[in-house]
């Protein structure tokens, strides 16, 4: 059974989400504050985390940032805010996906399933690929830069593997959305923010990327 942690300060929303998720076959726990959520995740790690942005005390962004320090669990933001600013900030903090309230339960579980699918090891592991000083080992689930391991989240790792599989070729944002996130259609900002975060980790100069390059109007490409 998949365990989901719901960090939401509105008691009614939290209760309703827990009921609905349990009804869909998940094991759901709730937390009313970020601190409580972080503690629960440390003690009983869930497979997915849903988090609201407006929380008393630590806000949602900070909650995501702290959880990301030592956990690559897929984090989905469920927020009433829909400004580009908020979405990008949450994704940059380390969230894997962003849903705007109200989310239909069907939609929510579809997203969680997609995140879970790609979270698992891939069926056809390939030997390590090398891009200059960058080494991607799908089997080991590891990325090394100049020999040192680079901490990446599952989503970032999937994104990197997808680009590595098509090395030297362009993948459009829509292609990446469907292959990495499992969305037939979705918000392309998701891709942009994750690419940006990945560059911070694997590029010497993230502003002038050498490996993960943008092709204006077309998409992204990984090269040596």
């Amino acid at each position: 059974m998949t365990a989901v942690l719901v960090i939401e300060d509105d008691d009614r929303i939290r209760l309703a989400l827990l009921l609905a998720l349990e009804e869909e076959g998940y094991t759901a726990q709730g937390a009313a504050t970020a601190e409580e959520g972080l503690r629960q995740q440390r003690e009983h790690p869930a497979d997915n985390v849903l988090v609201d942005l407006m929380l008393p005390g630590l806000d949602g962004y900070e909650c995501i940032r702290r959880m990301r320090r030592d956990d690559d669990v897929p984090i989905v933001v469920v927020s009433a805010r829909d400004d580009t600013h908020d979405i990008v900030a949450a994704l940059e903090a380390g969230a894997d996906d962003y849903l705007v309230k109200p989310v239909a339960v069907k939609e929510l579980t579809a997203r969680l399933r997609a995140l879970r699918r790609r979270g698992r090891a891939r069926t056809t592991p390939v030997t390590a690929q090398v891009f200059g000083d960058l080494e991607i080992s799908e089997e080991a689930g590891e990325v090394r830069k100049a020999g040192r391991p680079v901490p990446v989240t599952r989503t970032e790792f999937r994104l990197l593997c997808e680009l590595a599989d098509h090395a030297g070729r362009v993948l459009s944002r829509q292609q990446l959305l469907s292959r990495v996130w499992g969305y037939e259609t979705g918000d392309e900002r998701l891709v942009d923010v994750h690419v940006g975060r990945l560059r911070q980790k694997i590029e010497d100069d993230p502003a002038n990327p050498r490996h993960l390059v943008t092709l204006r109007g077309l998409g992204y490409k990984l090269q040596r």
């Binding site: 309703a16 989400l17 009804e23 009433a80 109200p102 989310v103």
Partner: protein
């Protein structure tokens, strides 16, 4: 009667003013010239007449004077004619024909009394100056001086002055036209700005620094537009805020309704029906809030990028269990369009939903170019069509087709086509509906600048 425009009136006033001024100046100058010329002429004529009279007097001062010879001895030139009255008979130089009564009676009486006199008369249609000089009790000397040359001069002067007056009036009109062009220019700027604002651009402002005299106009105009923009923004924000506030309770409802829906088989029939109603209405409520928030967001400009619109259309069909073969790309139309992906996605989605709800299902989704970079998305259905009277209003908010009122159980939000129109407008285009040949409605959305 239509009132003349400001410019025409000011110009006319300038012209009339200039004409009055020029005419009175001309009349005054004419009168002055005429008077001084005539006086000069009269003085000369009188002096000459005295001189001639003296010559005649000395010529007659013989025993048997030859009157004609005496008169002939005068050096008169062509413009003067001497006339001598002895007793009641007039004597002139032989060849000259003396008119019936060249010298007015009053003048004659004065001269006879011994007083020299001058009078202007018309003689045979010619302006003439008659100078009378008494020579003795019975003899009077008259001299008739033609004023024709002077009159000719007057005519030339009058003509010139009239021409000048007309020219001045014309210049006045031109000046008026020119001056009003400058004074009307700020009004033209105001009119242009007002038109832009009416077209929806509330960022339009007048430049308050162009003319110190017009600062008040431009600042109060700008103030008005500020107020208007603030009001529009406030209304927009209110709609957005309300929608946002509805999101949190809706999340609870959506999750709770899904639980009820899941448990249907454990409920008795009445409870299950009620639970189904709640779930359906929550879903509709959710769509309504999404559409409202989307509408509040449509003010933002379209974010264009290369989008495979055909793939988008096929995806939209697939999501509605419609055959992908409905999508037809006109020959020669590129698949990659420069459009706002999210907006075009909604256009397709809403038009397809509309066709399913009110048009008996779509029969074709056509993608084509209409020249000069305009991409056209067209969705045809085989429904009852849209009456001509409803074809504008159908794109307004919360308007649903007449057929929809007749049909029960509609789950539309009434915002779908309004959003289509807004998304088209964000691309600089428009949405419209026509009859489809063969029955049904045909919705067209024009997206300028999408095919480059």
């Amino acid at each position: 009667m239509t009132r003349l425009g400001l410019r025409a009136r000011v110009t006319a006033a300038f012209a009339v003013g200039a004409l009055l001024l020029a005419a009175s100046m001309a009349l005054f100058s004419y009168d002055l010239t005429r008077r001084s010329l005539l006086e000069e002429r009269e003085r000369t004529a009188v002096r000459v007449a005295y001189f001639d009279a003296a010559v005649v007097r000395s010529g007659l001062d013989t025993d048997e004077p030859d009157v004609v010879e005496v008169l002939r001895s005068l050096d008169t030139g062509s413009s003067r004619r001497p006339l001598l009255q002895i007793n009641e008979s007039f004597h002139a130089r032989a060849a000259e024909v003396v008119g019936d009564d060249p010298v007015p009676e009053a003048l004659r009486r004065m001269v006879r009394r011994g007083e020299p006199a001058v009078q202007r008369v018309r003689l045979n249609g010619q302006p003439t100056l008659v100078v009378g000089v008494p020579i003795s009790a019975t003899i009077s000397y008259y001299e008739l001086t033609s004023l024709r040359e002077v009159e000719d001069t007057f005519q030339v002067v009058a003509l010139t002055l009239t021409a000048v007056a007309i020219m001045v009036a014309g210049s006045g009109a031109a000046l008026g036209w020119y001056a009003t062009r400058h004074s009307v220019r700020p009004l033209t700027a105001v009119a242009d700005a007002a038109e832009r604002i009416a077209a929806g651009d509330v960022t339009t402002r007048l430049d308050p620094t162009t003319d110190p005299d017009l600062t008040r106009l431009s600042s109060s105009f700008n103030h008005m537009v500020d107020q208007l923009a603030r009001r529009i923004e406030r209304d927009r924000r209110f709609a957005a805020d309300v929608s946002h506030e509805l999101r949190s309770p809706l999340q609870t409802l959506a999750a709770a309704a899904s639980v009820l829906n899941r448990r249907r088989e454990h409920q008795d029939e009445r409870t299950a029906t009620a639970a189904g109603l709640v779930a359906d209405e929550v879903a509709r409520f959710q769509r309504l809030v999404d559409d409202l928030i989307e509408l509040a967001r449509t003010e933002q400009p379209a974010q264009r990028q290369r989008v495979d619109v055909a793939a988008l259309a096929r995806e939209a069909c697939r999501a509605r269990d419609l055959p992908e073969s409905l999508v037809r790309l006109a020959p020669g139309t590129p698949t990659g369009w420069q459009v706002d992906r999210r907006r075009v996605e909604q256009i397709l989605r809403n038009l397809l939903d509309n066709a399913v709800r009110y048009g008996g299902g779509p029969v074709a989704v056509r993608l084509s170019g209409a020249g000069s970079g305009v991409g056209v998305v067209q969705v045809d259905d085989a429904g009852p069509g849209v009456p001509a009277a409803d074809r504008e209003v159908i794109f307004d908010r919360f308007v649903r087709g007449r057929a929809a009122h007749a049909r029960a159980g509609t789950d539309g939000t009434g915002l779908g086509l309004a959003l289509v129109a807004e998304h088209a407008a964000a691309h600089g285009g428009r949405a419209r509906v026509d009859d489809r040949p063969g029955g049904g409605a045909s919705f067209h959305v024009e997206l300028p600048g999408s095919l480059s």
